[in-house]
């Protein structure tokens, strides 16, 4: 297929269709509105279902219903709307229903503004809703990855029977870049034996999708079951099949200072690294592509070779805590952030690097 110039939000929509997603439930919010608009037009072309729900709360519960009935299903929103969806996400995680949730992050807290931000990292990676659960969190940094990670997200969701969160931001959602779209995949709504309404001849008893375990022993057993699943996922992303998917390293081998950022920030950091190298500063970059499970291994390794880390985020400092946990005090970890919708420029980051490598 030829390259297409698309907005990030639209690339997610088209990739979802190509991944076999036929169900979208959502509610309008900037800066992700191109995505529902795209799917409202596109899904009917493939006999899919698009519902503009009465609220974010309703939308995520429609996702819960469709996912529990075996659908490849998604919703999308931006920060305040994702807060509203947390109730449903907790139920979905508890009932182990696969789905894809897209957050095109904007400035918070509260109504904040509609400019790009990365201040939902904690909400995304710590669960966000109530209870002992995890969501797999993917962080694209280009329009191409918006598409690729949408498809990967559906695959992970189905494989682990877990909600997957695509954590993007206003820049990635709104920007256009060329995209290579993959071939469409078939998805059979009747392929999940556990799903409500499953019709296989091997169905021996009725199916139930539930997150209630009133008996405390049963709930404990269920929670440890979830925990074990999360351990399996963690292992696959840290040392197994998806090890390379989870993290991008750029010029780290001889680097003295490691710049760390995800999403759009990592693109800027790459420019900063280029500029550093031109000035003779041995800088490298680590980009976590998966934010949960967090790629701790790369930091453990680089803590042995690099002399310091600088984490850059469009927040007051959230992922920096995971980096510190991973570096485990072996080397200093510094932070630089812009918030409220300002994307830091390569110059101001370079200035920070200068301060660290040439303290006087």
């Amino acid at each position: 297929m030829a390259k297409v110039l698309m907005k990030g939000n639209e690339a997610i929509g088209e990739a979802a269709v190509l991944a076999g997603c036929r169900y979208y439930f959502g509610y309008p919010i900037t800066p992700q509105s191109e995505l529902p608009a795209y799917l409202a037009r596109r899904l009917p072309e493939v006999d899919g279902v698009f519902v503009q729900a009465e609220s974010e709360v309703a939308a995520i519960n429609m996702v819960y219903g469709a996912g529990s009935a075996g659908a490849r299903v998604m919703t999308s929103s931006s920060s305040p709307g994702i807060s509203l969806k947390q109730e449903g996400i907790s139920y979905i995680a508890g009932a182990e229903v696969p789905c894809l949730i897209v957050n095109v992050m904007r400035g918070g807290p509260g109504l904040g503004n509609i400019a790009p931000a990365q201040s939902d990292y904690w909400q995304a990676t710590r669960g966000g809703g109530h209870g002992d659960y995890r969501t797999i969190v993917l962080a694209p940094n280009s329009v191409q990855e918006m598409a690729d990670m949408t498809i990967a997200g559906f695959e992970f969701a189905d494989r682990f029977r877990n909600p997957v969160l695509l954590l993007s931001d206003g820049v990635l959602g709104q920007m256009m870049e060329p995209v290579n779209l993959p071939e469409p995949r078939d998805y059979d709504v009747n392929s999940k034996k556990w799903a409500l309404g499953y019709k296989g001849s091997d169905k021996t008893e009725r199916n139930l999708c539930s997150s209630i375990f009133l008996d405390q022993d049963e709930l404990e057993e269920h929670n440890w079951h979830l925990y074990q699943k999360y351990q399996v996922v963690t292992d696959l992303f840290s040392k197994g099949e998806f090890k390379d998917f989870a993290v991008e390293e750029h010029l780290c081998d001889d680097a003295e200072i490691i710049l760390v950022g995800y999403g759009i920030i990592s693109r800027i950091l790459k420019t900063v690294v280029e500029k550093c190298r031109k000035r003779g500063i041995k800088a490298g970059m680590v980009r976590p592509k998966v934010l949960w499970p967090f790629p701790t291994g790369v930091f453990e390794r680089l803590a042995k070779t690099a002399s310091q880390f600088l984490v850059v985020e469009m927040s007051c400092g959230q992922m920096v805590e995971d980096v510190k946990l991973s570096v485990d005090g072996k080397k200093p970890v510094f932070f630089f952030g812009r918030t409220g919708g300002t994307v830091p420029s390569d110059f101001e980051i370079l200035n920070e690097v200068d301060k660290l490598v040439r303290p006087d």
């Binding site: 169900y23 439930f25 279902v49 519902v51 729900a53 009465e54 609220s55 709360v57 309703a58 939308a59 519960n61 429609m62 996702v63 819960y64 219903g65 469709a66 996912g67 529990s68 009935a69 075996g70 659908a71 299903v73 109730e87 449903g88 139920y91 009932a95 709504v189 409500l196 309404g197 499953y198 009725r206 199916n207 139930l208 999708c209 539930s210 997150s211 209630i212 009133l214």
Partner: protein, 253 residues
Amino acid sequence: MTMKKVFSRPASLSKTPFHYCPGCDHGVIHRLVAEAIDELEVADRTIGVAPVGCSVFAYDYFNFDFNQAPHGRAPAVATGIKRTRPESIVFTYQGDGDLAAIGTAEIIHAANRGENMTVVFVNNAIYGMTGGQMAPTSLIGMKTQTSPYGRDAATAGHPIHMSEMIATLESPVYVTRVTINNVANLMKAKKAILNAFKLQKEGKGFAFVEVVAICPTNWGKKPADAHKWLTENMLPVFPLGTFKDTHGVEKAA
């Protein structure tokens, strides 16, 4: 001479003993749902959505697939299920706190979209599972755990009439209010629930059956007294009747 079996458990009802309080109406209403599904022969493609509230364990008492939904969200969950599996018979079974308070938006909009589903709304004017708090349908002056001086319209508003509200919408095809306080009304309720499922089976659209019911435990009354109280106090506020019947399903029957 062999004896003819005239009464048995509906096939759709499981053998799990009800956990409901003695005298509670839920058991009877569950049975009416199960009978309707058996009569329409759709048990193999029925999916129920259980809410939060006393009937949170409704899934234990039926023999078909079930989803346990967040509080008030059953109509949204049911929307997702029905859109994914349009051939299924999907219903929600919700109480007054669930449907008329926290889930008001979900029920109104599922009704307004005309989702082809059935809603069984059990209105007993109180929160049961959490221990007897004031509900949106509690009567004026009704004493509950959170209205110890009686519901005061000035601060807590008036009992909300969900059937009447939903009947104002264009899309729903059947909206009716029934009760099971005596045999005659029980038979009418049975018929109404059957109608509501039948309409869905025929693809006609959104059907809503409100069942005015008792909560002997939280009302602090014996079951017989509770039914008497219901007749004398609730029915004047929540009059029985059919508010909408677009396809004339009641006349046809």
